[in-house]
Structures are given as structure tokens and as C-alpha cells.
């Protein structure tokens, strides 16, 4: 392991925009560079940390508050956190920014119709059929970031292209070592 700063890559975007896919790609790349890291996403934490919570605004905010607490403790001890959460509200993302060390907002952007078309978990079909309440983008708001640190558009870019943007951004700021080319 090498000495490095802690930071939090916060992937926000609609369900199906590609947050977890991108986070996993970055995870793989950072592991080859000997970075200490934890990847967190909604499905993971809802099995442990937040299994009591649903998807109302209050529950969504509480979910993110607990994740922010974990990310705070990790990032201030030089552990990198890759956090993939819809996190639809400006104010809640601002809260995370204030809690953690080196918050970096990654807007994982794709139009609603593209996400609904992908419908990886079959959730959009149910939401449009009125079977799910509080589904972000359908019957619950998504407040897109005004000024994300990094903006990727997964309907226009491959995961390697989006991932490359993130890695270059981190390298340029000295947050991760540049990949060594042999």
C-alpha cells in the first residue's frame, strides 16, 4: 500500500444511468494502483446499514446521512470512498460535501428515456405502471447537479471513456498516482 489522501467520489444520477458500473470500473483501476478503497452503493448499504429505510424523502435523506457518516470516517483516515447513490436532492449532496474529506461530485448523466430503456432491474416498467411510489425521475424529482466536479454522459461515452475522465481528473490534482507505463 502507498500513502495517499482520502477522497470521496460521489456518483449521482438516475437509476440505470450507470453509476455502479462506472464505480466498479474505477474501483478496478484504483486497485491496480494500490489505493485503499471502499465502494458503497444503495443495494449494499440497504442490506446492512439502512435496512430499516424506504424511499420517502425522509428515508432517502437518512440513508445518505448514514452513508455520509461512514464516508467521513473513511476519507479522513486516507481511505478512498466510491459512493454510487441516486442522491436526487441538492441539499443532501451539499450535506455530504460538508461532512467528508475531499468530496468530488461525479454527475453520471443519461436521459430518462435511455435509463428507462435500459431498465436493468425492471423498475422503470413498474414505476410507469404506477406500481412503485417515489421512483426518481418518474414520480419523484431528480435535481441534477449545477456544477458537478466531473460530468460524464453514459449515452454518449463508453465506460472506458467516462472512467478515463475521472482518472485523469484525479491524476491532474495529484490525488492518485499516474499509471505507470512500462
Amino acid at each position: 500500500m502507498i500513502e495517499h489522501a482520502g477522497f470521496v467520489l460521489w456518483f449521482t444520477g438516475l437509476s440505470g444511468a450507470g453509476k455502479t458500473t462506472l464505480a466498479k470500473y474505477i474501483e478496478q483501476e484504483l486497485r491496480t494502483r494500490a489505493i485503499r478503497l471502499e465502494r458503497l452503493d444503495g443495494d449494499m448499504v440497504r442490506e446492512s446499514l439502512t435496512k430499516d429505510l424506504g424511499f420517502s424523502k425522509y428515508d432517502r435523506d437518512t440513508n445518505i446521512e448514514r452513508v455520509a457518516y461512514v464516508a467521513k470516517l473513511l476519507s479522513r483516515n486516507n481511505v478512498v470512498v466510491l459512493a454510487a447513490f441516486i442522491s436526487p436532492y441538492h441539499k443532501t449532496r451539499q450535506y455530504v460535501r460538508e461532512q467528508v474529506t475531499n468530496y468530488i461530485e461525479v454527475f453520471v448523466d443519461a436521459p430518462l428515456d435511455v435509463c428507462a430503456e435500459r431498465d436493468v432491474k425492471g423498475m422503470y416498467a413498474k414505476a410507469f405502471a404506477g406500481e412503485i411510489e417515489n421512483f426518481t425521475g418518474v414520480n419523484d424529482p431528480y435535481e441534477a447537479p449545477d456544477k458537478p466536479d466531473i460530468h460524464v454522459q453514459t449515452h454518449l461515452e463508453t465506460v472506458e471513456e467516462s472512467g478515463g475522465k475521472v482518472l485523469t481528473w484525479l491524476e491532474e490534482r495529484g490525488l492518485i498516482p499516474a499509471q505507470i507505463t512500462l
Copy 2:
């Protein structure tokens, strides 16, 4: 900062036994040795991670489950965790042991009457008056550890003596560097 293993010092014992006092003493000592660490206790996490929870058996177990999750993520990334929780049940402590990296159980032991006499937070008086339900040692059980890794008796030892036992234990196993005497 130095390279070191992650481990979890889990301080269990009655309210008023001296868990937090001992954890704070150890924290101070480890910080002088450049150890990355987080100290967690009931009052701290109940303000953030577990503010929805009370003191029933279910709520106590859920409280510890969330703490265990945090301790797991920290300890496997080489961050030391000092966790001071009454944690009255064998089974729950066993759960923590299975979750985290290098679980070390510290039984912070003092007789009930000594703890009640100290009554730092005025809670025992209320519990004996029947004003508090589920108060460990009064109207809720405390299952003392059978085989703690470290056993301190705060009614017989100073905090320096108890703390010295813990530090020596860690040094002997190479989990922390020995204090350098100039």
C-alpha cells in the same frame, strides 16, 4: 503516519465501568505513536448513525450491527477502531468478532454497586427508581465475557494501570510499535 494493521479494541462493560475513559486514554497514547484511529461510543453514534434507536434488545442489537459495519470497513483498511459500548449480549459481541478484522475484547469490569455509586450521568438513580426501562445491570441483563482478550478492573486499578495492560498486550503482538524511550 506509519504502516500498521487494523484492529478493533471492543470495550464492553456496565454503564459507569469506565469504558469511554479508558478508550480516551488509549486514544491519546496511540495518537502519540502516529496510529490512524477512530473512537466510537454509544453517545457519539446515537447522534448520527443510530439516532432512530432505543434500548430494547432489538434496538441494541441493531445499534451494534451498524457499528460493526463501520468497524469492519475501517479495520480492513488498516484503521484502528476503539469502540466503547455496553454491548451486554454474548451473541452480539460474537457477531462483531466475526465481522471485523482483529477483534480484541476488553472487559471493562467493575461491580454494579461501584458503577451505581459513580453514577456519572445520574442514570442509575433513575433506573433504580423505575424511571428507565431496559437499563443494563438493573432491569436488563449484562452477560459478562467468559474469555475476554484483556480484563481490566477499574475499581482496583488506575486508568494508567488498565491502559498499560492494553498497550502491553498490543505491543507484545506487534499490533502497535513499542513506545520509544529517548
